[in-house]
Amino acid sequence: MALATTSLLRRGSELSDTQHQRAMLQVHPAVATLPSFDGQLKQSGVGELRPLTPIVLQINLGKMCNQACKHCHVDAGPDRTEIMSRETMQKCLDALDASSITTVDLTGGAPEMNPEFRWFVEQLHSRGLTIMVRCNLTIIVANPKYHDLPDFYAKHGVHVVSSLPFYDATYTDRQRGGGVFHDSIKALRMLNNVGYGHENTGRIIDLVYNPLGALLPGPQASLEKEFKRNLLDKHGVVFNSLHCITNMPISRFLEFLVNSGNYERYMHTLVDAFNADAARGVMCRTTISVGYDGRLYDCDFNQMLDMPVASASDHVSRFSMSELASRLIATDRHCFGCTAGSGSSCGGQLA
């Protein structure tokens, strides 16, 4: 499988420095005339971004991945070695035991590459928690040791969420690497074979669409219809729902925007499409994000920009629902990605 790119870190890109990325969002000439995100919230009457009761603990099990997608906001790839230890996972379990959070969303990298992944899922399952795994599909066919993942997911009631930017090889491979579409279809068939994607099995596989360039995603319902029709007709594959996610102007997608001369236009597009209803429903209000090292963030994007929660409870070993409840959510201009048009979250469009 040919990689779409390599990590910014490996290439020694200045964008691998999160301070440089923050400066791009704050003081770059392309964004000079744009309002700040907090300013926009105030002006639109949404006000300060305060958390609601958290429902989801999103845990990043590491930056290691078998793929290296061009738009990756994690800067993940085969060369990244940062992964969560069992000790930190145990602290996540302790935090969950002491909280009312009902859903755990496991992400990466490819979370399955963490050697403690299965142990962790078993622990979560034994607690009766709803488990989501952000599976890149190709990992299932990448190595024989992963071929039984569909059975493992089924056994532990895992809700699988997988990226597939298009129902066609050309576009998918352009973003995710050569051969990714072929392998993804193979993996989807394996998931379908154990009941995933079929009605009334209770086994859910949702797909995630993100635009293949400096564009906002189109309407989710209409894209879902096209995906379902094409994947069934051409590949005999079924899935449950399509989530449309906007590409955030950070990390490798930011690199694409700058290198292709689209940065200024894209940022203006996001700001012009600001939707107050989407802003009120942003996922950071009901999610706590945990980094591979146990640090706490308002969302996975803040995590990748090294913007920790503004709270004394800033590490999973100091997890405190009451401390976190009084925090103000940390924002920067990348947040316009979640509030543009119909909005965007890890669960798709918001408004």
Binding site: F166, D168, G213, P217, G218, P219, S222, L223
Partner: protein, 110 residues
């Protein structure tokens, strides 16, 4: 005015309401309704708009509906086929008048 067309003018389309708000309001409301999902999907409508944009050779419309078609999940192949449809109708419209020419030739010729 240094050029007739400026890409930045596309996003100012709504400003036409400054000189005549009532008619502009009616136009934009109708425009929105036209492009809503109906018997035709939003993607089909976007591709029709892209084809028409090429027929009327409006650079603003080409810019807008290239972006819109991509956002609606159209492929490059679909979009180029839409442009060919526009070109075929334009070419055909010229050629079918060849019959008129032939009619006239037949009328005046011995």
């Amino acid at each position: 005015m240094s050029t007739y067309y400026d890409p930045a003018d596309l996003s100012k389309f709504g400003n036409i309401s400054a000189f005549q708000p009532e008619l502009a309001g009616k136009f934009f409301e109708w425009y929105g309704a036209v492009f809503a999902e109906g018997a035709l999907t939003q993607r089909e409508k976007s591709l029709i708009a892209l084809a028409v944009a090429h027929a009327v050779q409006c650079p603003y419309c080409i810019d807008a509906y290239t972006t819109d078609s991509l956002q609606k999940g159209a492929t490059e192949q679909m979009m180029m086929e839409a442009v060919h449809v526009a070109a075929a109708i334009r070419g055909g419209a010229s050629l079918v008048h060849g019959v008129q020419m032939m009619n006239k030739v037949n009328e005046v010729s011995m």
